[in-house]
Symmetry: C2
Subunit: 444 residues, 2 copies
């Protein structure tokens, strides 16, 4: 079963509504925008990610004959809908913020303009893709901001929420500035550097810890990073020191050790001393084990001699905020702007643009949310990506997105770079947008 | 790209370790067990789920020629490993708890016995599959326990962590007792009932709310559930009442309404009154919008006239505990029991079995964790599933798992059925297991 490009990966109501639209001949252009209503607790900003997967989805959306046959046998759908789905190709337009762009609540990061049934059908998967990668990039960026340049590696696949979550978390965290991932498939699919050491089971499978180190070194002579906490961390560090000369004689350098349990800062100091005194000053220390940005900051502040960090579950699941309060909302139909006024969920109507206003010396001052027709100098953050179902140009590569993300994080006001909640960055609503909203509410 | 059955969906170190094992001729049987170390906060029990997907994975595990070519060009792997992977078929044995079984910390729910390189290679994906579905079933069961039999529906796909998370959350929540899902593909793949209503965008796309209701009813005459909170909930309920006779005259009954915002209990009461007084006493009220088991309990306790509940993000992401502290640990190699003694992560060695001990009147008394060779009356919870890479018998269907889950929840001690943390259910360690552990620690 190929999950990721299955057109049936949607909510039932998308199909029932499409059927109703078709029966009423409501195929005029609909404008939907994807945005986040509120920042999650403990977040000062968000980072756009997942656009590449959304464009893949829209470009390849097809209902197979098997899908159509299955839908038909449910007895829920009209022949009109089934014929429509059979021939469906996404023919709409998309404008979006580039991946790696920092954004704030109520700012659309993606706008879809398409015949209503199409624009509606793609809602679920677009949200599913953008919510996840944006959430992960936004979480991972927090670790990047406080790591002082030390390499961070994604170790989260085993507790990611399924296959796609693991793969896309590797992608989104690399976009945000991680150095790489342990997930092999992410290396193949996205050209992300892949890292790995050894597991406790490897040590346990041997009767003797030193023998396990020797075997691993012989099998991976270019990447000898030894896991030393299976039994007694410092004792194992001394075994590494004792073993290193004989490995070196065979041309196998010990590149480093990994610590995965206990007081990591304390173990790192003791192990560093053992390695230094044992003639291994260049062997690095990688730590792992329930790390998140707060633990990372503690370890960094402690000045423990740690060279790199593997971050797993907390990042891959965005454990403290495992979803975004995101929405994909109708903003205009058949040329008529509209908005939702449900309690606590009201939205700004119409097609919108976001401008990042700067101070005289180039600092970020505030963002301006306005209508697309509002005259304004400078480039808006949403740029054309697709027209008539075709990409205007190839999307920026993941590497280019990573460069953009790094530049954005460097420009981010310093208060927003902290882990603790700061005063919200101002998103100013333009006069033009206020005027439009009033007009819509009056039914004008 | 087919994600879900890709053999490269694993951690790099599984491959480097496999290479080391092969080079040392360490292909003796290895025994790994999957278990959860600790309950997440706010959980009194766990429910096993995901075995079916694990068995699919093991049964179909193949490295394609493309996988091998990609691994070769990385320059990291020996010809020995690449040849091995090319011909790899999982040839091991699996014992497991049936899906829907309730279990507790330190109890293995799955045991793999296979030649070491195989048993190691499958670690990452087995954990990825069992962690997620078990976490979701355990979370969803809490809502089932307090819903007093009212139908619960999974609405979570849009904020699930990718495609597979959405699909498997639909499956795991149905296993735990949900009535169905909005995810169409879950209906097709797992024969789960699919539910859906309409979205706010449908109402907004019309100039008039009543017109939107009419159009929807005409398109879905057998399933008229109208969303009434887009602008003013009670006003919309009155519009439904006014519209109903003309729809009824065409043979289209209004089956119900959905509320998605505001004070749901208050709106439900007012809407119920409007519907009752308007001649629609049989029209049901479905509520949705940021529900979790606590909100659900409040609504149930309020005796608000709500007929069914759609539960989304909080369940699909297991928002309050988005991962389990789970492990897949080596317990024996080449006939020699072993265990990990890392600080805070020590494990019980050897092949183990779990017995659910009962009182004279059939109540659950405690669980006994013991060695597999310990003589004990009754059936253990782990039962043979696969031998020599082949399923012993077809796995129980999802429907059978759901029946088992319901029976388990009914038997669960009442203190553990509450949402608040109860005294932990006792998992007693047998004398035989203590004796084995002492022997292993002495290196015997």
């Amino acid at each position: 079963m190929t999950l990721s490009d299955n057109a049936l990966l949607t909510d039932l109501y998308q199909m029932t509504m499409a059927q109703a639209y078709l029966e009423q001949g409501m195929e005029e252009p609909a404008v939907f925008e994807f945005f986040v209503r509120r920042l999650p607790p403990h977040r000062n900003f968000l980072m756009a990610a997942g656009l590449s997967q959304v464009m893949d989805y829209l470009s390849t959306l097809r209902f197979t004959s098997g899908d159509i046959a299955w839908l038909a046998q449910t007895g829920r759908f009209s022949p009109t809908l089934l014929r429509y789905l059979e021939g469906l190709r996404f023919s709409g337009s998309v404008d979006a913020m580039a991946e790696g762009t920092i954004f704030f609540p109520n700012e659309p990061i993606l706008r879809v303009v398409a015949p209503m049934p199409q624009a509606q059908l793609v809602e679920t998967r677009i949200m599913n893709l953008l919510n996840f990668q944006t959430m992960i990039a936004s979480k991972a960026a927090r670790s990047v901001l406080i790591a002082e340049g030390k390499p961070l590696i994604d170790f989260g696949l085993r507790r990611a929420h399924g296959a796609e979550a693991g793969l896309y978390a590797a992608r989104a965290s690399y976009l945000a500035g991680f150095a790489g991932t342990a997930t092999v498939l992410a290396g193949k699919e996205f050209v992300i550097p892949v890292f790995g050491t050894m597991a406790h089971s490897f040590v346990q499978a041997h009767k003797d810890e030193t023998e396990s180190f020797t075997h691993f070194a012989q099998a991976q002579p270019d990447n000898v990073v030894l896991l030393i906490d299976t039994y007694d961390t410092e004792a194992a560090a001394r075994k590494v020191v004792a073993l290193a000369p004989s490995l070196q004689a065979k041309g196998i350098p010990v590149k480093g050790v990994r610590l995965d349990s206990g007081d990591l800062a304390d173990h790192a100091r003791k192990v560093r001393k053992i390695l230094d005194e044992g003639g291994l000053p260049h062997a690095t220390i990688l730590v792992s084990g329930n790390l998140d940005e707060y633990r990372l900051r503690e370890l960094i502040r402690s000045r423990a001699p740690i060279d790199s960090f593997a971050v797993g579950t907390a990042m891959t699941t965005s454990a403290d905020a495992p979803s975004l309060d995101c929405a994909y909302k109708l903003q205009e139909y058949a040329g008529r702007p509209c908005r939702k006024r449900s309690e606590g969920k009201a939205t700004w109507p119409g097609r919108k643009q976001v401008y990042r206003e700067r101070t005289a010396d180039g600092q970020w001052a505030y963002d301006l949310l306005t209508t697309i027709s509002d005259q304004h100098r400078g480039d808006g953050l949403l740029q054309p990506v697709m027209r008539d179902g075709r990409l205007i140009a190839p999307l920026p590569s993941l590497a280019a997105g990573r460069t953009r993300a790094a530049a954005q994080l460097a420009q981010l006001p310093s208060a927003l770079q902290q882990l603790e909640p700061a005063s919200p960055y101002e998103v100013r609503i333009s006069d033009a947008l206020h005027t439009l909203t009033n007009r819509v509410d009056k039914g004008g």
